[in-house]
Subunit: 184 residues, 2 copies
């Protein structure tokens, strides 16, 4: 009963972030504040049902609760210089936020020069979704053996675990805004 690493501190941080007292949270969840106190101090390992009750009251999913969520930025705005380039080769991938660890959302401003492409590796992500919208130019997108060319104002959306590949078959840069969750 000492092996539950961080359920307690996680719950406490979560509760604080939503500005709830142990009693308020316990009321919403239909539990007693003592239980919340026990859990937060890692005195007990709550049952799934109990934790689900608590998270439903916040609300938050069990999956999100257990996905590592570190401290988050308090800086909400990002100038162009604040975007972090995580691309390689000729491809530019500008990411919103430098410290995404644990954040459930990654947004990228992508620019593909003519002829450039992303690796065709299956790139086995965790469960999650990935999608985007083409802003300028054209891109050939292959998802799980299905290929299509997308133009400006067209989009895509697929589960991240599928192998996928981007290739700019046009003659001008292709600009895409993409989002995926959770970040790999």
């Amino acid at each position: 009963m000492d092996i539950h690493q961080n359920v307690g501190s996680r719950l406490k941080a979560l509760r604080k972030r939503y500005d709830l007292s142990q009693r308020k949270l316990a009321d919403k969840a239909g539990l007693t504040h003592g239980t919340v106190s026990h859990i937060e101090r890692d005195k007990i390992s709550p049952s799934i049902g109990t934790l689900r009750q608590i998270l439903d009251a916040i609300p938050m999913t069990l999956s999100d609760f257990f996905s590592d969520q570190g401290e988050r930025d308090t800086d909400f705005f990002y100038a162009e210089d604040d975007l972090l380039d995580v691309g390689s080769g000729g491809v530019s991938l500008l990411q919103i936020g430098k410290n995404l660890n644990g954040l459930p959302l990654q947004i990228l401003l992508e620019r593909y020069p003519p002829g450039s492409e992303t690796a065709s590796t299956p790139y086995r992500c965790r469960s999650g979704e990935e999608g985007g919208i083409v802003i300028e130019g054209e891109i050939e997108l292959t998802i799980d053996d299905r290929t299509r060319v997308l133009k400006a104002n067209e989009g895509y959306l697929f589960p991240s675990h599928l192998p996928h590949k981007m290739r700019n078959v046009g003659e001008v840069d292709c600009v895409i805004v993409s989002a995926c969750t959770p970040p790999a």
Copy 2:
């Protein structure tokens, strides 16, 4: 359907998929096979520690265990006509995918005419993140009492539970690509 999804059937399917008997799994996890049996038939709600032991033996993370991996759309590509307008007033919000129910990711192509704005209501979302990138024009964005004007290629990212408001204070349309998770 996921509110009361049973841990039991999920664990049983998982165990079967890895071709393990209740005893083999229990041994690996350092538990008794009776416990596994109880859990699979939903006779008990296991403690987090116990479930973690079991999943470690498979292995699988708690987050992945609770993440819904149900059937989803097999249509990955979206032409401009396939985007669903969920906006109101003068604001156009084109959503990728018509049937997002249960999907953890919503991507929007937003267009704000000069002078238009989104409701200033706190708009208390579920937990999650929301962010975006300005493509054209300028937008005045207010997040939790902080206000800033963003131009093209600038972005924003914040936890969805904070009150926020958009207003186009420029003289041309403002185009934004945004993403949020989970969809409200």
